[in-house]
């Protein structure tokens, strides 16, 4: 099936540093998402992105967070500066159409485990 690739699979950084998480979505997909998961528990919605713009974001999407997809390359999540509570697994997803409709499925990557020391 369609594959979403996330790079790197693990990232360890010191608190206060900047980190960029990379996502290579399914090639013809138009909508992109980031979710945060802690300890294998609930998937928390962070943000969705379409046509170069953030469409919707949650309270978890702090001012230190930003997303972009320059020129159809990687869809990235940047955190600057990082905090201890940012430690989690971050999942990228993509969909062709509206991800909340029965016609369109969200396809998830395998996640990037971020550890902030």
């Amino acid at each position: 099936g369609p594959k979403v690739l996330q790079i790197p699979s693990h990232q360890i950084i010191d608190m206060g540093q900047m980190v960029t998480l990379n996502c290579d979505p399914v090639s013809n997909h138009l909508y992109f998402y980031w979710y945060k998961q802690i300890l294998g528990q609930q998937m928390e919605f962070l943000v969705n992105f379409y046509n170069g713009k953030v469409m919707e974001k949650s309270k978890l999407f702090k001012d230190q967070f930003s997303v972009e997809r320059p020129d159809g390359s990687y869809f990235t999540l940047k955190i600057q500066p990082t905090a201890l509570e940012d430690s989690a697994v971050y999942f990228c997803a993509s969909s062709y159409g509206l991800g909340g409709s029965s016609a369109e499925t969200l396809y998830f990557g395998s996640g990037t485990r971020l550890t902030v020391l």
Partner: protein
């Protein structure tokens, strides 16, 4: 505020039994409910989904029962197999791009 709740948090059944996973929601604008299956070290993958105009959706051993009035739904896994051991997420959406996930149920199927 937790918009989508799941119970139990964890569930253990024997191979061949039926596992029942419960889900409830609060937002009456939710009209699409996908269930995602997640294995350790992987991202969630869509398992089965239902729209609020239906009260039942079946796909092989997996069936969703939906009660719109009570804002509840359940996933039934019949003839459970050890390979079904995973975390199951009930999710909900008002037909926008924001898909809200529940708290998850960790299922273990013993051989």
């Amino acid at each position: 505020q937790q918009q989508v709740r799941q119970s139990p948090q964890s569930l253990t059944v024997w191979e061949g039994e039926t596992a029942i996973l419960n889900c409830s929601y609060e937002d009456s604008t939710f009209n699409y409910f996908p269930w995602y299956q997640q294995f350790p070290g992987e991202g969630p993958a869509l398992l089965i989904s239902i729209r609020s105009v239906s009260d039942k959706k079946e796909d092989g051993r997996f069936t969703i029962f939906f009660n719109k009035r009570e804002k509840k739904l359940s996933l039934h896994i019949t003839d459970s197999q050890p390979g079904d051991s995973a975390t199951y997420f009930c999710a909900a959406s008002p037909n926008t791009n924001k898909v809200v996930f529940g708290t998850g149920t960790r299922l273990q199927v013993l051989p």
